[in-house]
């Protein structure tokens, strides 16, 4: 099955595109898709501990199972999360 991947900010710079389509096995999770992406773009591994994900424009867990045609977004830490007041 095929999913559409969206990436943002520095993660987009690393991937070199704002979106890309990839074929994944039936029943694959968000995490498996991410792992594939890191194989393809090793610098993305820097986000392993700080990543958020969304499926079809809603926040999703890494364990979420994907379906054909899903839009999967990988989100670096958001700008406003700084601990600075």
């Amino acid at each position: 099955m095929r999913v559409n991947i969206r990436v943002f900010a520095r993660l987009r710079d690393i991937v070199g595109a704002a979106e890309l389509d990839r074929d994944i096995p039936t029943g694959a999770t968000v995490r498996q898709l991410w792992d594939e992406l890191v194989v393809e773009f090793p610098d993305a591994s820097a986000y392993a501990g700080s990543l958020s994900a969304a499926v079809n424009t809603e926040y999703a867990k890494m364990e979420t199972m994907l379906h054909d045609g899903d839009e999967v977004a990988f989100l670096p830490p958001v700008s406003g999360g700084q601990l600075l007041l």
Binding site: R6, F8, A9, R10, D13, S50, L51, S52, A54, T57, E58, Y59, A73, L75, P76, P77, V78, S79, G80, G81, Q82, L83
Partner: protein
């Protein structure tokens, strides 16, 4: 309503328009009426961590940002039932002094309006999928903060704690 309460926009933010959109909505007399309007504007500062900023670029995952704003609205109404919220975030390149985010809350009483407004900006900073790139003399850098997780109860409590309720 001619004006959206929630928006991600490339246009200049107008606080008066947000205020107007809230006050219009309650002219039907169903409540005590609005006695207090609190608002917040986040502006692009010319200095950050000691260096001079030339401009900022904001990027959003727009549909998710709108869902995050809707979630924040629900959280506000849950905690402060008589309070209304309008929230606009700007994206694109912003000059020093321009507003990146505008939040307006309206409530019968001022304690709720202030608390809801403060809560909303904290939550925007925590969970809105919006990133900023800082341009300074000689380069640029994406500013990254904390991992966005709308279900993180600790983050939500932290935002609530800052409202001083």
């Amino acid at each position: 309503m001619s004006f959206q309460r929630l928006a991600v926009t490339t246009k200049r933010l107008e606080l008066d328009a947000l205020i107007h959109c809230l006050s219009e909505a309650t002219k039907n007399g169903e409540s005590e009426g609005i006695g207090a309007v609190a608002s917040f504007l986040g502006l692009v500062r010319e200095r950050n961590l000691g260096h001079r900023v030339m401009k900022l670029e904001y990027e959003a995952y727009e549909p998710l940002a709108m869902h995050a704003f809707e979630r924040i609205t629900s959280e506000v109404v849950e905690r402060w039932p008589a309070t209304q919220l309008a929230l606009h975030h700007r994206i694109g390149v912003l000059a020093i002094g321009e507003a990146s985010v505008a939040i307006v809350t309206a409530s019968p009483h001022r304690a709720d309006a202030f608390a809801a407004c403060r809560y909303a900006i904290e939550r925007v900073k925590q969970i809105a999928p919006i990133w900023k790139r800082e341009f300074f003399e000689g380069g640029d850098v994406w500013i990254e903060g904390a991992t966005a997780d709308p279900d993180d109860a600790t983050a939500r409590e932290d935002a609530y704690r800052r409202t001083c309720v």
